[in-house]
């Protein structure tokens, strides 16, 4: 989970320029990963919980394909160093 004040955000139309104070890296992400970051800044969560919250927000079905897509985004955010994933 990212620390709330470790990230600087700037919203540009449909994209977000995010500066990670911990790494000094800048990232351009779109709405879905940005929303996952917002959820995680509020509180840590499991991938399944995030998929459900995101599905509710986007008014779409929380099916297997959606969960896989959410999981891929989470992995991408982790590989960018924007979040930390704890495996069971």
């Amino acid at each position: 989970m990212p620390l709330p004040d470790s990230l600087l955000w700037e919203e540009w139309e449909t994209e977000y320029a995010i500066f990670n104070r911990s790494s000094g890296e800048t990232h351009l992400i779109n709405e879905l990963p940005a929303q996952i970051l917002r959820f995680l800044i509020e509180q840590p969560d499991h991938a399944s919980g995030l998929a459900e919250k995101l599905a509710n927000l986007c008014e779409t079905g929380n099916n297997t394909s959606w969960q896989q897509q959410t999981s891929d985004i989470i992995n991408n955010l982790a590989s960018l160093g924007l979040i930390e994933v704890k495996r069971p």
């Binding site: 700037e10 500066f19 000094g24 800048t26």
Partner: protein, 307 residues
């Protein structure tokens, strides 16, 4: 007094002995040299630059000298020294001027971290700046040279200097090195332009330096607000086409283009966020310079109508 008003003999003596000091944009240069053709070209291309007091602190202490080796007897060379040290291989003596210009660019790019430094040309009109980032194949120097002969004020051909916390562009008006075909293109486009001699077969091909217009030097303490970021791309036979691009994309492209974005960290991020927020961002493909300058001039007219 300005270079153009000084007695050349006196200037030569000063340059040989204690050196001469002058301002280029926000930087004070102290130059010591015995290479007289270099000094003559400097005064010819920067006639409006003002000689300043040698006793004040300079940002860059430069010496251009001939290495004292046997090679000087049959192939004389010029070497660039900064703070008494040389970091570069010498150039042929008759290429001393491009060597000095290139060396000074290197010094600015590696030291002036009080600025967020974009690798861009910057021109201004009516107090608003147009930033033209340098991307491979952009033709930014040629386009910049054309714009300053169609009503735009030159801020810089090489550095977009943005002072963190102040969303303004700091001018650094210096010569524009035109390369290869661009030399004749600009001679034809702007016959009134002052161009130095052509230096053949430099590392970047044939190079001739276009003098900064006098008004650019006289107004180098006026810092316009950024208004447009235009990513130019020279495309043979293309008509001039200006396409808006998303600010997020422009932001990332500009961050990648800056000399010291990563080094500045959070300061660089905040500086570029402010800059992009205040600008309209476009990609621009062009081939004909007359049409290109007309298209970019129309940006100013549009903004005037809007305001």
């Amino acid at each position: 007094m300005r270079f153009g008003e000084l007695d050349p003999q006196w200037l030569r003596q000063q340059a040989k002995n204690g050196g001469i000091s002058f301002n280029t944009g926000p930087f004070r240069i102290q130059l010591q040299t015995q290479i007289m053709p270099l000094l003559e070209l400097l005064t010819q291309l920067y006639p409006a630059s003002e000689l300043v007091n040698n006793r004040e602190v300079a940002d860059f202490h430069i010496r251009m000298a001939q290495p004292r080796n046997y090679r000087r007897l049959w192939r004389p060379q010029a070497r660039f020294y900064i703070d008494g040290r040389s970091h570069f291989e010498p150039y042929p003596l008759d290429h001393a001027f491009p060597h000095m210009e290139w060396g000074l660019n290197y010094c600015i790019a590696t030291r002036a971290h009080q600025y967020c430094m974009l690798h861009s040309a910057v021109v201004a009109r009516n107090g608003r700046a147009l930033i033209l980032p340098a991307m491979p194949g952009s033709g930014k120097s040629t386009l910049c040279a054309a714009l300053i002969h169609r009503g735009w004020r030159l801020l810089s051909d090489e550095f977009g200097l943005v002072q963190p916390g102040k969303n303004r562009l700091t001018p650094l008006p210096r010569v524009i090195p035109l390369k290869n075909r661009s030399i004749d293109i600009i001679r034809e486009f702007a016959p009134e332009a002052t161009l130095g001699p052509t230096f053949p077969k430099t590392r970047k091909g044939d190079v001739a330096h276009l003098a900064p217009p006098v008004d650019a030097i006289l107004n180098q303490d006026q810092h316009p607000e950024p208004a447009w970021v235009v990513f130019p791309k020279y495309t043979p036979n293309a008509s001039s086409q200006l396409e808006p691009i998303p600010k997020g994309i422009a932001f990332i492209r500009l961050a990648n283009n800056a000399f010291n974005y990563r080094l500045l960290g959070e300061t660089g991020y905040k500086t570029l966020v402010s800059l992009i927020k205040s600008c309209k961002c476009y990609s621009f493909s062009y081939s004909d310079l007359e049409s290109a300058t007309q298209t970019l001039n129309a940006l100013v007219s549009k903004q005037e109508v809007a305001s």
